[in-house]
């Protein structure tokens, strides 16, 4: 694992993956959006609003997957002190917060025609909102601390505490109030989404996953370069001050 702790080696690996992932992302988004607009069957009860689902479901899936990835990266950082893990965690948290916001906003837009209101204190909406606050806390802690090393450790501890609490929050909120339909099932014995609606959804899920991979790598490369510039600047200042002495 420490083989890829070397930033140069990581950048080479990222550069090899990026074109492919970007290609998959663009193709999947284009084909998926095309299917959604032209080819999707209109649901008898939901009407045209069923199209919102194709954005909402992948975003909701990715918002939770991203938090799990942040927690995993934090664990790797705390146990093995892998320097790239913490950079990955930060990059994925930004994306996860974005996915959570998309899921919340599309959910609200769907809720207005379907439930008659933008917001209801339903269990799944509420736990999504809490997830957004967890992301905000994690990112706020990153920006509040001056030293990168300390921020990395503090945010990693927070992410692990958060991931232990997440299921407790989810079940307590579920018990508290429930209106949202049970989660959409795509696999297993009886998927509760009609097969005609499934194809565009799968393609959009692939598109969102590719987006996550591409922008995690891009953000990590940016962060590595940012830190490289900072250390170059620091060594230059050091050299200059030695010259004047």
């Amino acid at each position: 694992m420490h083989k890829y702790a070397n930033p140069a080696r990581f950048t080479r690996l990222a550069n090899a993956i990026l074109p492919w992932a970007t290609g998959v992302m663009i193709l999947a988004f284009c084909y998926g959006l095309y299917l959604i607009v032209t080819n999707s069957y209109v649901d008898s009860k939901q009407g045209e609003t069923v199209r919102i689902m194709y954005i909402h479901v992948p975003a909701a899936m990715m918002s939770m997957a991203a938090y799990a990835s942040v927690a995993l990266a934090s664990f790797v950082y705390l146990v093995w002190r892998h320097p790239l893990a913490t950079i990955a965690g930060k990059a994925m948290a930004y994306l996860g917060a974005g996915f959570t916001m998309i899921a919340l906003l599309t959910g609200m837009l769907w809720g207005k025609p379907m439930w008659g209101t933008y917001w209801i204190w339903d269990a799944r909406l509420t736990s999504m909102l809490i997830l957004l606050f967890l992301y905000m806390g994690y990112l706020a802690l990153w920006s509040a601390m001056e030293s990168h090393e300390k921020a990395a450790r503090a945010t990693a501890i927070l992410a692990l505490v958060g991931v232990v609490n997440l299921p407790i929050i989810k079940y307590s909120v579920e018990w508290w109030n429930t209106l949202h339909q049970p989660a959409s099932r795509l696999l297993g014995e009886n998927p509760n989404i009609h097969p005609d609606l499934q194809a565009p959804l799968w393609i959009m899920i692939i598109a969102f996953q590719a987006y996550f991979v591409v922008f995690t790598l891009v953000r990590m490369k940016l962060e590595i370069n940012k830190r490289k510039i900072a250390s170059l600047k620091a060594s230059r200042i050091h050299a200059l001050s030695e010259d004047t002495l």
Partner: protein
């Protein structure tokens, strides 16, 4: 044997310090009372409305009072240097954190629990719920102190970090709030409160397990 003496000494020291000069326990208790008195002005003096919201309002205010007192938990010791002494004591840092957090609960939260029935009567809460309110607060509030300790430890190096502590900690308080209010509501509606209390106890015990480990590692990071 020696370790338990250190444990109790640290516990006692923190409780005493909370009420002497610079300690904020008294102010936090006053905050709890004045905030609860604000609600009738906000929602109007209608006894029925006040009775309906009383449980939730008392629990939320207890939660905010706990939050307000958290920055004192490790910050003061860090400023005067005694946190380094605590770290060098024969007690492991995890156990020291446990002692300090229990002291925080005893000094700050316990008085709030004792005062809760008095404030409940001002909010016209039905009298048969008083016992359950006390019980749910007693079982649930340790979770507030323990989870709060993590937030206090994580923001130890940040100046004026109290707003950040709120953002970090309040989402994690939600299960405690739900089960605590749920237990009292269940009694008021003639339902079984036991499942709520058991879950509340589970949250408290789990946070008691996790908090010393997470807080201690955050403090070590801050003191490096």
């Amino acid at each position: 044997m020696r370790k338990s003496i250190v444990f109790w000494a640290l516990l006692k020291r923190d409780i005493v310090l909370a009420y002497t000069q610079g300690g904020s326990a008294g102010v936090v208790i006053a905050f709890f009372m004045i905030t609860l008195v604000l609600y009738p002005f906000g929602v109007g003096p209608d006894p029925i409305i006040l009775a309906n919201i009383s449980v939730g309002v008392i629990w939320v205010t207890a939660l905010l009072s706990c939050l307000l007192s958290l920055d004192r938990l490790f910050q003061m010791d860090r400023e005067d240097g005694s946190l380094d002494d605590v770290m060098m004591s024969p007690l492991s840092l995890e156990m020291s954190v446990l002692a300090k957090t229990i002291a925080h609960w005893v000094a700050t939260i316990l008085p709030i629990i004792i005062l809760a029935p008095l404030l409940a009567s001002l909010l016209n809460m039905p009298q048969e719920s008083y016992g359950m309110l006390l019980l749910s607060l007693a079982i649930g509030t340790p979770a507030l102190s323990f989870i709060g300790a993590i937030g206090a430890a994580l923001t130890l190096t940040i100046k004026r970090g109290s707003a950040l502590v709120a953002l970090l900690i309040l989402p994690l308080y939600i299960p405690t709030l739900i089960f605590g209010v749920g237990a009292v509501s269940a009694t008021t509606n003639d339902q079984n409160a036991l499942p709520h209390l058991l879950l509340l106890g589970a949250v408290s015990l789990l946070s008691m397990l996790i908090s010393p480990i997470a807080s201690a590692s955050a403090i070590k990071m801050a003191q490096e």
